[in-house]
């Protein structure tokens, strides 16, 4: 179970702007295990988005290194790396091109990476849409007519099209309302179980962490504060900062606890689909 998929070794990132030096990430060493949902939590400015950008190869690290499946990740990513590490963004409104159909957006990775034969890609797109709980004929629709939750499902389908090993989920549910959020989390949980995916789940919402994560790393001001399995962090937080974050979670009602259990199970579907 605990084979490392991604290892960060003393990873650092410093930004320089107008003569100011801002240390966004300060020498972080961390291991992500295959098949886990590893949550990165912290307030804004804690360095969690910087980790996402570095892992995706969107910016070069200032210091340190990363290994993916035991092999060093180059600054200029190969096509294989781009395919293996995917992203689901926070804002589903912006993540889909309003002037391209849902099908075109989901098909793009298939064309880029030459996945499958050209004429069966349409069927593949339909399959991916069904896998995320949308009907196949959504392919023809414009994202403009879709709800936030539906758009996020399309974005997830697009990430899945690459057949990735690791998906960086950057606050994937924070723009959605609570019930839709629960359904999307449920979907993510199911996909992880069925496809053996690994998630790097960035969030500021510890309630979401408790619902879906297997492991948590807490960040503050670019430093790793503590890391461990989700139960032990919540049961026995070591740092004052983590205790403070946990204290900020709203008290859980019985209803919410029930939703959470459903998400954890990852099974469909007392929550239904939207």
């Amino acid at each position: 179970m605990s084979t490392p998929i991604l290892e960060l070794d003393n990873l650092g990132k410093t930004f320089e702007a107008d003569g100011h030096r801002v240390v966004a990430l300060d020498g972080v060493s961390l291991t992500f295990n295959r098949g886990e949902c590893h949550a990165i939590v912290g307030e804004s400015g804690s360095g969690k988005t910087t980790i996402a950008n570095l892992v995706l190869g969107l910016m070069p690290a200032t210091s340190g290194s990363m290994r993916f499946n035991g092999v060093a990740l180059p600054a200029e990513r190969t096509k294989a790396h781009r395919r293996a590490i995917q992203l689901v963004q926070q804002n589903p409104l912006s993540a889909l091109n309003p002037r391209r159909s849902v099908g075109a957006s989901v098909r793009l990775p298939l064309d880029v990476h030459g996945i499958g034969v050209s004429r069966e890609r349409g069927a593949r797109v339909a399959g991916l849409l069904e896998e995320v709980g949308l009907e196949a004929d959504y392919a023809r629709r414009s994202p403009r007519g879709l709800s936030g939750g539906q758009r996020q499902r399309v974005a997830i389908a697009r990430a899945l099209a690459c057949e990735p090993e690791l998906i960086v989920l950057d606050e994937p549910t924070s723009a959605l309302d609570v019930l839709v959020q629960a359904r999307v989390l449920q979907l993510l949980q199911r996909l992880r179980q069925e496809r053996g995916l690994t998630y790097l789940f960035i969030t500021h919402d510890l309630a979401v962490v408790r619902a879906i994560a297997t492991r948590v790393s807490v960040f503050q001001k670019g430093r790793l504060v503590e890391t461990g399995p989700v139960e032990s962090i919540f049961a026995n937080p070591q740092s004052a900062y983590t205790r403070q974050l946990i204290g900020a979670i709203p008290v859980v009602t019985e209803e919410e606890a029930k939703i959470r259990n459903v998400i954890r199970a990852g099974t469909p579907t007392p929550l239904g689909t939207e």
Binding site: L58, K79, R83, A95, L96, N97, R99, R100
Partner: protein
């Protein structure tokens, strides 16, 4: 028959846009004006009783006549029917506008897309070149170019094209800079799509509303610019009927033979107004759509 700036595009990307367009009477009026002018220009040969008046002929018995039964708008200094000269002038104006925009738009759009998406040195070099063109007053630049070249129709179009593309570069540069911040561009990048794909398949479709609106407005402005050049004697030469030259020629006979300048001037005003109304309507329609 093609109607530039017709709502076909708006219709395709949602009836909401077409409804917004239709709801404004001024936009509809603009569309009617443009449709009538395009119709007259295309079927000029059939609409005039004097198609030969387009050429260098003279009927000195009929020169400088005011509006009458035979010559509805009067005749010019060579005795040619002004109405005929004006609809052929429209034909020429529209051809010029289409040719100028057909060259200036793609050049400017590609410069703007590449500079806006690539950034860095590419951005710096391309946009500074654009700025140099933008820094010179358009009419002065066109006049300078025409000063070097023979005053022919082709050179006139080249001069106007040379001063027109930078405006598209600047516009599309700004749109691209904004679009590049959108998540769908990041998504295409993380998926591994090529720069060509991102620029032309992802960003360009989102530039179409801006491009179409500007092109429609510009048909009027290109015609105005061409008329200004020929008014100054730098554009199309006689006997080709050109609205700008007609105003210039007729000005010598003001106010006695007022019809010589006044009708072509009104003709310019109507065509520029028509395309401006359509352009404004399109802009509002695209805003309503998004």
């Amino acid at each position: 028959m093609s109607e530039p700036g017709s709502p076909v595009i708006a219709k395709r990307s949602g009836s909401k846009a077409w409804q917004a367009y239709r709801s404004n009477p001024l936009s509809v009026a603009g569309l009617v004006i443009v449709a009538v002018i395009v119709f007259m220009a295309v079927f000029a040969d059939y609409l005039t009783p004097f198609p030969e008046h387009v050429g260098p002929i003279g009927d000195f018995a009929a020169m400088n006549m005011g509006p009458s039964e035979t010559y509805r708008l009067g005749t010019d200094t060579m005795g040619r029917d002004l109405f005929t000269r004006i609809i052929y002038g429209y034909q020429l104006s529209l051809i010029m506008a289409v040719v100028v925009l057909a060259i200036a738009t793609p050049v400017g759009v590609i410069v703007g897309l590449v500079a806006g998406y690539k950034g860095g040195w590419t951005d710096y070099v391309l946009m500074r070149i654009t700025d140099i063109f933008l820094a010179v007053p358009p009419l002065v630049l066109a006049m300078a170019i025409m000063g070097f070249l023979e005053p022919t129709l082709l050179n006139g179009m080249l001069a106007i094209t040379a001063m027109w593309w930078p405006w598209y570069a600047r516009l599309i540069y700004n749109v691209t800079r904004a679009e590049a911040q959108e998540g769908y561009v990041l998504a295409a990048e993380t998926v591994g799509a090529s720069t060509m794909h991102i620029i032309f398949r992802e960003i360009l479709p989102n530039c179409w509303p801006s491009i179409l609106t500007k092109m429609t407005l510009d048909v009027g402005f290109v015609i105005l610019m061409a008329s200004s050049l020929s008014f100054l004697g730098l554009g199309v030469q006689p006997p080709t009927p050109d609205l700008g030259s007609m105003v210039a020629e007729g000005a010598k006979y003001m106010p006695d033979a007022w019809w010589l300048s006044v009708w072509p001037a009104i003709a310019i005003l109507i065509i520029v107004l028509g395309f401006n109304l359509v352009g404004d309507g399109l802009r509002e329609a695209f805003e309503a759509e998004s």
